[in-house]
Each structure stands twice: as C-alpha cells, then as structure tokens.
C-alpha cells in the first residue's frame, strides 16, 4: 500500500494547493465535413462534433469523481477552419456559428480552431477568412481563434502580421471590454496538439479524433518550494522537476482513461503551469518564492528559465507522449502575482517580452490602451514572432486593446480570464516598418536539411 504521507501529500495538492486537470480537450478532424456549400458544410461540422463529443463532459466529470482531482475545463479543438471555408469566401460565419452551436450542445467550455496557418503566405480565401475573425468573435461565445503568422522554417509573414494587428483591434472594438481579442491568438511555430485555449486547434497532421490533456499546478510547485526556504538554486530545480513529475503522472492517468472511455486516440499531456486569478495558483508567486521581491524585477527571466526547463524535464519523464506547449504560462490577467506586479509597475511589457524568450508561450492576456495604433499592435506581434522564430519555439500574442480605457484603469473579464491593469505600450511609431509588407526570411538555423 502507498505510504500514508504520500496519500496526504496528494490530498493536500488538490484541497490546499489547487492542483487540477486544467482541461480535457478532444481534437476532431473536420476534413470529412467539406461539402459543396457553406450550409451543407456547417451542418456536417455540427453533426460530427455533436456525435464525437457527446460524452466528453460526462467522462470528464466521472473521472473527476473517481480520481478526486477536479477536471476544470472540457474543450474541443478542430481542424483549422480556413481549410473548410476555402470554397465559400464571404460565408465563413456559417461555419463559425455551427462550431459555436455544437460547443453549446455538447456542453464544452470552449471550442478552438477558427484558425488559419499562413506562416509563409496567404491565399485569397485565407485573407478573407482572417478578415472574418472580428465579426465571428463578436457573434459567438465559445469559439476561439488563432492565426499562425510565422515559423522557424518559413520566416514571418509580415502581410499577415499587419492584417492580424487589424483583427485584434477590430475584435476588441466591437466586443464588450475588448473580450473578443481575449479569444484570439497570433502564433509563431504554433503546435498542432495544444489543448489550451485560446490557441488550440486540431493540426493537419493529426488523426480523426484524439484526446489531449492539460495539467496544471502552480500552487503545488509554490508550496514545494516554500518547504525548502534556504535551498540552493540547484535544489530548487530538482524540487520543481519532482513536483512536475507527480502532477504529470496524474495527467497521464486521466489521458489513458479519458481516451479509452471516449473511444478516441490517446494524444498528449501538456504539462503546463497554468495559473488562475485565485491566490495560491500563481506562476508569478512561484518566481517570488525563488527569491524575487516582485515578479518583473531583474532576475525574473532567469527564474522563469529555470522553472520552465525543470517543469519540462519532470514532465517528460512522467508521460510517454508529452506535447502542446508544456512549460510555464504567464498570462497577466489570469495570475494574481502578475496582476499585482503589473499594477505596481514592476512588470512591464518589455520585461514580459524578455520572459517569453524562455517560457512556453508569449505575451498573454495583456490589456493595453484602447487607442493604441494598429501598427503598434502589429509591431508588438512582430517582435514576439521574431523571438519564437529565432529561438525555434512557440510564441504567441493575446493582447486586448481595451476600448475607451487607458493606463491606470482596469478591465474585468471575470472567471478564468481574470482582471488586468491597462499596461503602457511604447509611444513611438513602427508604422513605416509595418506598412512595408513582405516576409522576414527564415533564420539560417531554420534551414536544417
């Protein structure tokens, strides 16, 4: 039998340290749904998602009861929708509404995959698709959207970056408090099996139906570090690794069982430390536990690099298939430590940018003034994409130019999306750079053949 102390440790992780399975995400291929008209395609999409995903909520809830570990979100990701809408330029919304309706019917929290992959270039239909995103986000509730605008192999499609800046601005302008922009991500090196929103989509290299699981546990890591207040940095890394191993093992177990019960392919575990706005569930606080006065001060990037790497190492050992983003997330509005640091001025956009070079995502859930010029938004995206492209890693941008609000004010999204202080952006213009268009060539190390 397992040792008493180990049983108590597991129970405390859930009861006191907010350990949970953050999401069970079912990836569904929609290629078989492509028909001659938008209406027929939309109907086929709706029917397929409802039939494949009808038991996901029940299975997630059953597993939650049996294992005593909460499964917080149930989600669906689908084939990037731009592949489905190529024939129906101008009618993209039909597919979007079908996706949203299907998500509501089966009871999942979010559905991801209103997405396009344009890292090298864009077709006319993909351009039309990207332009449809703001309206789609304003007319749907649970649908999330993403566009991959760069990769280490292809470089950065700056025409797409320009367009995506416009999408972010418009999506924010036509939704309450800019919420539309919180459901949209621009990516470099997007991964095909990410279970987390808003960036999840079911990659073109995936099978018919797959289950991916995202685990989380910033509170567990923070508590483990708290128990060794005077340890050396080497010891910190070791403890993070061991903790990541334990929480990923539970993700692995849930992945096995969920895919079996749902009759789907066993996908990956994404071992990410995903914070929530609750106290005791913050990545920012882990970094502070390592010895920073407040996240954002000098030393933050180094602490985050250590954390991200140790999480990956522990997790990889715990699960045969690790994927997704896997690392530490730093969404400002969803992390109480980050919110406080942004509020006090410790955490700036420039520091966040540096942090994204060493963690698993990018500039995430950052609120900026509503009057930020579109070219500045595009330029911010371009910077972030450049970090991903050169470092051969995924980077993402999810920023919200909050309408009619400026620095010093707050935006309240509620729930998991949390609240955010409006952060200042650089006020010098990159208009000329963004207006040039074209492509940033791939870095030399992208050419590996």
């Amino acid at each position: 039998m397992i040792k008493t102390s180990e049983i108590i440790e597991t129970i405390n992780m859930v009861d006191k340290e907010h350990f949970d399975i953050r999401t069970i995400t079912m990836g569904i291929s929609l290629f078989g749904c492509i028909k001659d008209t938008a209406r027929d395609t939309a109907n086929a999409v709706y029917d397929l998602i409802c039939s494949r995903g009808k038991n996901i909520v029940k299975v997630a809830n059953d597993l939650s009861v049996e294992y005593g570990v909460p499964v917080v979100n149930k989600r669906v990701s689908v084939t990037p929708a731009s592949f489905l809408t190529a024939k129906f330029m101008g009618e993209e919304i039909e597919i979007a509404l079908a996706l949203d309706k299907a998500a509501k019917e089966i009871g999942v929290d979010f559905i991801g995959g209103y997405s396009a992959l344009v890292h090298k270039s864009m077709t006319e239909s993909e351009k039309s698709f990207i332009l449809s995103i703001p309206e789609v986000l304003s007319k749907t509730e649970r649908l999330c959207s993403s566009v991959n605008v760069g990769s280490t192999r292809a470089g950065i499609n700056m025409d797409a970056v320009k367009l995506v800046g416009e999408v972010v601005k418009k999506a924010a302008d036509i939704t309450k408090d800019g919420l539309g922009a919180a459901k949209f991500v621009a990516f470099c090196n997007a991964v095909e099996d990410n279970p987390f929103m808003a960036g999840a989509f079911h990659g073109v290299g995936e099978g018919d139906c797959v289950i991916n699981v995202g685990v989380s546990g910033p509170g567990v890591v923070q508590n483990a570090l708290k128990s060794i207040p005077n340890a050396s940095i080497t010891e910190l890394a070791e403890v993070v690794k061991k903790t990541a191993f334990k929480i990923t093992r539970v993700g692995n177990l849930v992945l096995d069982e969920a895919s079996k019960r749902l009759g789907a392919e066993r996908g990956i575990v994404d071992l990410s430390l995903a914070p929530t706005p609750v106290i005791g569930d913050s990545v920012g606080h882990i970094l502070e536990e390592m010895g920073l006065e407040e996240v954002g001060c000098h030393g933050t990037t180094a602490c985050l690099a250590l954390l991200n790497d140790a999480v990956k190492k522990g997790g990889v050992m715990a699960c045969s298939n690790v994927g997704g983003l896997s690392g530490a997330f730093i969404p400002v509005s969803e992390d109480i430590g980050m919110i406080n640091a942004a509020d006090s001025g410790s955490l700036t956009l420039s520091k966040l940018e540096a942090m994204t070079a060493v963690c698993s995502v990018g500039i995430d859930m950052v609120a900026i003034p509503g009057d930020t010029p579109v070219s500045t938004i595009s330029a911010l995206i371009a910077d972030e994409m450049a970090i991903g492209m050169v470092n051969n890693k995924t980077t993402a941008v999810r920023i919200i130019p909050v309408p009619n609000k400026t620095v010093g004010e707050y935006v309240e999204f509620g729930g998991l999306l949390g609240r955010a202080p409006i952060m200042p952006v650089h006020n010098k213009s990159a208009e000329k750079f963004i207006s040039r268009g074209g492509r940033i060539p791939a870095p030399i190390h992208g050419n590996k053949n």
């Binding site: 008493t4 180990e6 049983i7 334990k246």
Partner: protein
C-alpha cells in the same frame, strides 16, 4: 474497483465505527486499514473495494463527505490508481 478512503481530523471516539458502518450498509468491503496520528491530526487510511457496492461512487462520496461534516473530520474517497500514478515510478 479499489479505492483509498482517507479520514483526516481531530481524534474522537467512534470515527472508525461510523465510517465502517456506512461502508457496511453500502456493501463496501474494507481490505486494509491503518491509523496514525500525524502532526497531532488523526489520519486513517482504508483500502476499500467498491465493486459490489450498492451505491455509485458519486453517491458514496457524497454520503461520506456529509458524514465527515457531521463528525468533524474530512473524508476523501479516490481511486487507488491516482496514488499509484503519482508515487510509483
């Protein structure tokens, strides 16, 4: 299905009796039991088999939780696999 039942709280007479009684009423078999005081807290761990239980795991958990509230202890019931996964390589 084998589950681990954990009772944590302040020690007092009758905890084991009450928990065992509830389990017996639901036809749950106790396969192993250990009890200790950890950091002045009463901790009891039972390995139980709910295969022939007359209640679903969800209902059983709810009844155990409310029994726990009644006698002032916290009671958890979890599939054994979660502990094996986490603590065995």
């Amino acid at each position: 299905m084998k589950c681990v039942l954990t009772v944590i709280g302040k020690d007092k007479p009758g905890i084991i009796a009450k928990v065992s009684n509830l389990l017996a009423n639901k036809n749950v078999n106790i396969e192993d039991i250990s009890q200790t005081i950890m950091q002045s807290t009463f901790t009891m761990i039972m390995l139980v088999n709910i295969e022939n239980a007359t209640a679903t795991m969800k209902d059983l958990k709810e009844e155990l939780v409310s029994l726990g509230e009644e006698i002032g202890v916290s009671i958890h019931l979890q599939h054994e696999a979660v502990f094996d996964a986490m603590h065995k390589v």
